[in-house]
């Protein structure tokens, strides 16, 4: 089966995010005064072959640990997993 997996990578809460601060200030200047905080991260879309969702999630978690995030400064989470194709790999 083929799955589509969305991963979000973002700086850990304790790491200063100057990009997020600049975006927040820009929103304030546009009049969106209610914006308390902005954190800028990355969105990755993967197409992954696997037997089932559980196996695919485990694979993607391993990818996050080894490459997709820098474990020193970034957190990651799987935002969604959906089936793209039921055809056997």
């Amino acid at each position: 089966m083929t799955f589509s997996v969305e991963v979000v990578v973002a700086l850990k809460p304790v790491v200063n995010d100057p990009q997020g601060l600049v975006v927040r200030d820009g929103l304030h200047r546009l009049g969106f005064s209610g914006v308390r905080s902005v954190r800028v991260g990355k969105h990755l879309e993967l197409e992954v072959e696997g037997d089932d969702e559980e196996a695919v999630r485990a694979q993607v978690e391993a990818m996050c640990e080894q490459l997709l995030r820098n474990t020193v400064i970034e957190d990651s989470r799987i935002a969604s997993v959906r089936v793209l194709s039921d055809a056997a790999a």
């Binding site: 700086l11 304790v14 790491v15 200063n16 100057p18 990009q19 600049v22 490459l67 997709l68 820098n70 020193v72 400064i73």
Partner: protein, 239 residues
């Protein structure tokens, strides 16, 4: 002595490093990222640039290069490895050095002279300096803000593994003159064994008065003196 200089696609400071090495009277060999042979280098330099376009994160992809397998083995065997700018980012991504380099707090790419205070002379790279010496060496980066958790920072300070700190011209604390907002004003760190140095500033661009400073040359000379003065230094040279 022989300096090996790594060349990744997107490396831009390799020839500047070769120029500095040759100016210091030493041999430079270029090490292609697809090769594994370190060609008998006594010290491997990972120069500045944007290896593999800095895709995903600076240094994240370069660490998978075949050459990096040899460099990691060389470093783990006690061989001298010197990461400059992008090379520092690669060493952090490869977990050969602690911490990470993130976007400058200014969000700007900064290309400017900086003043570094030598914080330890207990490494081949800085043995030719005195603690507290000031070196004028330029930076040229967009992602040089050194970050690490409090525990790691405390360990680096306790073990005197901060090699250089950004300071003002008069040697006082950098404060808001820091080029990137690094924690503890850290410009360079060494590993626990002190044979791997990562630094954001470019000593190869401060190797002759024509460039405004020759202070960077002291580091090249320090490495050469350390290697020639100790038969045991290039432990991993047989790789």
């Amino acid at each position: 002595m022989r300096f090996g200089i790594a060349v990744f696609p997107g490396t831009w400071s390799d020839r500047d490093c070769r120029h500095a090495v040759e100016l210091a009277g030493h041999e430079a060999v270029m090490l292609w990222h697809k090769d594994r042979d370190l060609q008998g280098s006594d010290c491997v330099i990972l120069p500045g640039g944007f290896a593999y376009g800095d895709y995903l994160r600076a240094g994240a992809v370069a660490r998978f290069a075949p050459l990096m397998e040899s460099v990691a083995a060389f470093a783990n065997n006690g061989g001298l490895v010197w990461g400059i700018c992008n090379g520092f980012q690669i060493l952090c991504e490869a977990h050969l050095l602690p911490g990470a380099l993130t976007r400058n707090s200014s969000l700007e790419f900064r290309c400017m002279p900086t003043w570094l205070r030598v914080e330890t002379v207990d490494s081949a790279f800085t043995a030719g300096c005195a603690r507290g010496d000031l070196l004028q060496v330029p930076v040229s980066h967009g992602e040089g803000r050194y970050v690490a958790d409090e525990e790691t920072l405390a360990m680096l300070e306790r073990e005197e593994r901060v090699a250089f700190r950004y300071v003002r011209r008069d040697g006082s604390s950098a404060g808001d003159e820091s080029p990137n907002g690094s924690m503890h004003d850290i410009a360079g760190v060494v590993n626990a064994r002190r044979n791997v140095l990562g630094m954001m500033p470019h000593p190869e661009r401060a190797c002759e008065q024509l460039l405004g400073s020759s202070d960077g040359m002291r580091l090249f000379e320090s490495v050469a003196t350390s290697v020639s003065g100790s038969g045991a230094m290039p432990v991993g040279a047989a790789l």
